[in-house]
């Protein structure tokens, strides 16, 4: 069975807590807060004002420039505020607040339940529709999908890789999506293939989800999806990383930055993104909701919700019942998720799950000195030397950190996870990566001017 070539770890997947919970439609929220940044790139501009009436699917934030994404209202009602509010990390960001009244949708949106498979649109039309629908990578990176599907001149896509890996422990939203919305995933995949002009697509699924592999294969055979193959992958974190997945599926390694996946002919999409693409292209439905897992060992109940964006995360945690004592609330899973410290924050596009970890699991061990065991080097999926990178960042030796390729780091956290001395390796590497990236960009800009 295939997997990516170097590094990686095997954390307990902890999926048993929520994997058998069918997707439930969450009750409509009374109020939604919509951040104008839910994507990588330029923030959207709010185009509504206090007092405006909006319908479900109406644009409230207009994208600015190519690398940006529209924000649509997920509810119908009245705009009550356009102001700065804290996000999950407490940082104040521009948000549009809408008070819900009823549930009226834009008429252009096809709300019938039947599956519409046939798509005869031209690639350009498909990409335009995806752009209008404000679709971003729903795996967590939130990179605008239309940018990804616009193949630069002189390059050619050869294969579409669909990410059904969900290597992050605890999370099950993609798993449930593959089980319950397989037709949408597959039609979405067909649309992506059409948009980038390739004949072959591979859905990578880790072998800890045999049901999903079997179900997808059955649907492909039953409905005759041509050129789509389901590839079981050996369970290993971080297989869901874009570069790791491409290497696992195609055997080709994307060269170091600034090279993109297209340089080896691959276009990668998450399964949930495929569903969003299907809905946008076939049903004219913009991105207003997603499947989100609410999970944790000590929660009263765990769920896989279909929730509208902008719903307060406190509502989701409330429904699950947060245990008392020391807890860590995470937007995402325990390997790459971000700590949530302000639960008034809204659910955003990139949030595939909310994980609650408690007590001992949440607390970090005592830092000891590095024993040079080399385990971080062994597990690094990018072939870096985390112990050096961390030290260089601590000493602020940015030029040396750059020489040691700190910008290659994908922040998967394998190094910190595996360190027997509990060193916060990634904490410092992240500083190094950010600083060096800034330096590199500034240098490139200066060179361009000349």
């Amino acid at each position: 069975m295939r997997t990516f070539p170097i590094g990686g770890i095997h954390p307990h997947d902890n999926k048993e807590w929520s994997k058998d919970k069918a997707i439930e439609v969450l009750e409509l929220p009374d109020e939604v807060k919509l951040p104008m940044v839910q994507h990588i790139g330029a923030p959207a501009t709010p185009i509504v004002q206090k007092g405006d009436k909006v319908l479900v699917g109406q644009v409230v934030g207009q994208s600015v420039g190519f690398v940006s994404a529209n924000i649509h209202s997920p509810v119908s009602g009245t705009v009550t505020n356009v102001d700065m509010f804290p996000n999950g990390q407490g940082q104040r960001r521009m948000m549009v607040v809408i008070k819900r009244e009823g549930d009226e949708w834009l008429e252009t949106i096809d709300r019938t339940p039947d599956h519409k498979r046939e798509c005869k649109l031209e690639p350009k039309e498909i990409i335009a529709k995806i752009k209008d629908a404000g679709i971003v990578g729903l795996g967590g990176a939130q990179f605008p999908t239309h940018v990804k599907l616009s193949i630069p001149d002189g390059q050619k896509a050869e294969v579409v890789v669909i990410n059904g890996v969900e290597c992050e422990p605890y999370l099950t939203s993609d798993y449930r999506t593959m089980l319950e919305r397989a037709e949408m995933v597959l039609t979405g995949t067909e649309i992506v293939m059409r948009a980038v002009g390739v004949e072959r697509a591979v859905i990578g699924v880790e072998n800890n989800k045999p049901d999903a592999i079997k179900h997808l294969r059955e649907v492909i055979a039953r409905d005759g999806y041509r050129g789509i193959e389901v590839m079981p992958l050996k369970m290993r974190y971080p297989q869901g990383g874009e570069k790791q997945l491409i290497a696992a599926v195609t055997g080709r390694q994307v060269p170091p930055p600034p090279a993109l996946p297209i340089s080896v002919g691959a276009v990668v999409c998450n399964v949930s993104t495929c569903v969003a693409i299907y809905e946008a292209v076939q049903k004219n439905k913009p991105l207003i909701e997603r499947v989100v897992t609410v999970t944790g060992k000590h929660l009263k109940t765990t769920h896989n919700y279909l929730a509208r964006f902008g719903t307060s995360v406190s509502r989701l945690f409330e429904l699950a019942g947060i245990p008392e004592g020391d807890v860590k609330l995470l937007n995402g899973g325990p390997m790459m998720g971000r700590s949530v410290v302000d639960i008034t924050a809204p659910l955003i596009k990139g949030c595939s799950g909310l994980t609650v970890i408690t007590g001992e699991e949440a607390a970090r061990g005592k830092e000891l000195s590095c024993i040079k065991c080399g385990k971080c080097v062994e597990v690094c999926p990018m072939g870096l030397e985390p112990y050096i990178l961390s030290k260089l960042a601590k000493l602020q030796k940015w030029d040396m950190a750059e020489e040691h390729n700190t910008v290659d780091c994908i922040e998967c956290g394998c190094c910190s996870y595996t360190c027997p001395s509990y060193l916060p390796l990634l904490d410092y590497i992240r500083i190094g990566k950010q600083t060096v990236s800034t330096i590199v960009r500034a240098r490139a800009a200066a060179n361009n001017k000349r």
């Binding site: 570069k243 020391d326 000891l368 024993i371 990018m382 360190c419």
Partner: protein, 329 residues
Amino acid sequence: MATRLFAAPSPHIHGGEKTRRIMLDVILALVPALAVSTYIMGWRVLLVTAVAVAGCVVFEYLIGRILLKRGSTIGDLSAIVTGMLLAFNLPVGIPWWIVLVGALVAIGIGKMTFGGLGCNPFNPALTGRIFLLIAYPVQMTDWTTNVPDALSGSTMLADVKGSTYDAAGNIVLGNLNLDNIDFMGMFGGHMNGSLGEIASLALVLGALYLLWRKVISWHIPVAVLGTMVVFALCVALSVGGGALCYQLPLFHILAGGALLGALFMATDYSTSPMTHKGMLIYGVGIGLLTMIIRLWGAYPEGMSFAIFIMNAATPLINKYCRPKRFGTK
């Protein structure tokens, strides 16, 4: 709400591996060899080991607390490992005060001077042993005191000393008479040597446990022993081949500290390279140097010096054997 909200950068979980657990694994892996040695050589093995371990732990505690003025680091159990390895490298009849001097050098000079665990460029136990070997050569090579009669005498490695070339350019292997050697006995521990290195079988078992626990990887032991085998084979062929082709390699692996060195001393984390490629180079270097010292050097055994020299080369190996960057060829 009695809930306290934690916040930290990702990752939020840990694999659960601890320095302490690794050290404990090494200690466990050394116990069978200790037991076999005690069975063969008597209770004094335990005494020497106890003195060495106690010395290392006490010196680490005192130096950390009084000289470096920081918290005690003995909880990580690394001092116990150093103590055991030091004892394993000593003859069983060694006076107790020499053991203590060795412990002081191992911990004081070999480890704490450089900042403690992980910062030492040389294996602390080896630092202690080499110091003793040079400072107390008589006691360190006295293989007769407190030893059962069956084992007394010189070590077999001393017999290969004086290997020379004859007039025709062929190698001549000293006084060694390989036909009289009981290889099975050597494997089980019936040979002369320092107290930890004789129990070959038990050492191999311990190393297999470490491999299974993923504390060490196969690269260094295989590279060291493999190089020694190949080297011995070449020597055997140049002498004349025949039965020597398997006798000489087997002899060199079983005799002296080859197994103890390759399996436990050379694999020490802080003094060995980080990448697998580096480990192989490091291992080959140790194997070569060991054989050169054994056959032509001034000392009968070269393992300690070979590891010591390659320890010095480790930073250099780390610099040139970096891991393969993802996406490059």
